[in-house]
Amino acid sequence: MNNDDHSQEKWQTKLDDFLAQSSPSLDNKVVARTYEQDEPIGNQLDDLQTIEQALHIEEHLDEIGLQAVPEALQNKLSQITKSDHSSANDTIEHKDNVIKVNFNRKLSIVALAACVTMVGILNFNWSTPSFNNQQPSLAEINQAQQDLAIAFNYLSLAKTKSTSQLTQTINLKVHQPMMKSLLKPLTIFKES
């Protein structure tokens, strides 16, 4: 077993220990449920647990630490950077005309991207709640739920008052005169 394998195993053990000893926070559970409902991938329970675990790891990444890059991979990455430099030098030395054309084209693409970004920034509504408060806490959501309950309680109150008033009016204007008119012939009949 070489050093890379050993370090990878050590990191994995550390991560496993961390996950076994701690559980995702309530906030993470709510966020995970929101994500899962927005874009379900496969099995609901598995998705939910995976997202919760990912959020939990992200939150405690400083404690866990990052996995060291294996030496072989590091060498390969260095080689890519070197070969990029050499090919760029070749282009500068041998293809002056082509570079000029590409440079103009690249410049206009960069300018276009910059303008699009500027338009986006200028038109962004900075006062939108989604910007100022992207992810409300569980306490804030609970407070909102309570506020909504108060609003709907008052709506129910208005509905009850309206219904009771309607019943009273019907009773007063329709029901009572109708009953009187029905009872009168019965009384006359009884007297006779």
Binding site: Q37, V119, P129, P136, I141, Q146, L148, A151, F152
Partner: protein
């Protein structure tokens, strides 16, 4: 270069349409004047926007019908004032709002004019869908006077109001 300028022009001309619509521009929105000068700070002041209602809707996912109803709301605004003996400012506001929204084709569905109880309920209809509701109550009960102004923006089914209240299952002390 010509293409670049053309693209930029199209982006600039389309950008206002891309912006989020302000809540005050919604069909179901009604503005209530502030009565703080007459009655002090409101007893209850609620302003719930669409994103917060979205989160509440997710929390109520156990009842799909209630969750769907809440998710269709765009805003819920409530102002409740405890009144002193002078109910004129609240009555004036009720009359003003009722007059304004009648001119904007809101439909009055309930009007109660009792001595101790005045209620106005208006709805804004788009076809057969109700996308705005205004409830104004001036109420006196056990020597307690209060003025209630509620504006619900978004699609709402009045038949399901009680269902939502029951589903939220919170003791609001009302």
């Amino acid at each position: 270069m010509k293409n670049f300028l053309l693209t930029l022009f199209i982006l600039l001309s389309l950008s206002p349409a891309i912006q989020a619509k302000e809540i005050s521009e919604e069909r179901g929105y009604v503005s209530f004047d502030n009565l703080e000068a007459d009655y002090g700070e409101p007893k209850v002041m609620i302003n719930l926007n669409q994103s917060m209602l979205g989160f509440v809707s997710k929390l109520s996912a156990s009842d799909p019908e209630v969750s769907e109803l809440i998710s269709k709301l765009k805003a819920v605004r409530v102002q409740i004032y405890s009144m002193n003996n002078d109910d004129k400012p609240a009555l004036d506001l009720m009359t003003k709002v009722a007059k304004d929204i009648k001119n904007k084709n809101w439909m009055p569905i309930v009007t109660i004019n009792e001595k101790k109880e005045k209620v106005r309920i208006f709805t804004k209809l788009t076809g057969e869908i109700m996308d705005g509701l205004v409830v104004m109550i001036i109420n006196e009960e056990n020597d307690k006077k209060e003025a209630v102004f509620i504006n619900i923006i978004g699609e709402i089914d009045p038949e399901k109001i009680n269902k939502v209240t029951d589903a939220l299952q919170i003791d609001t002390g009302l």
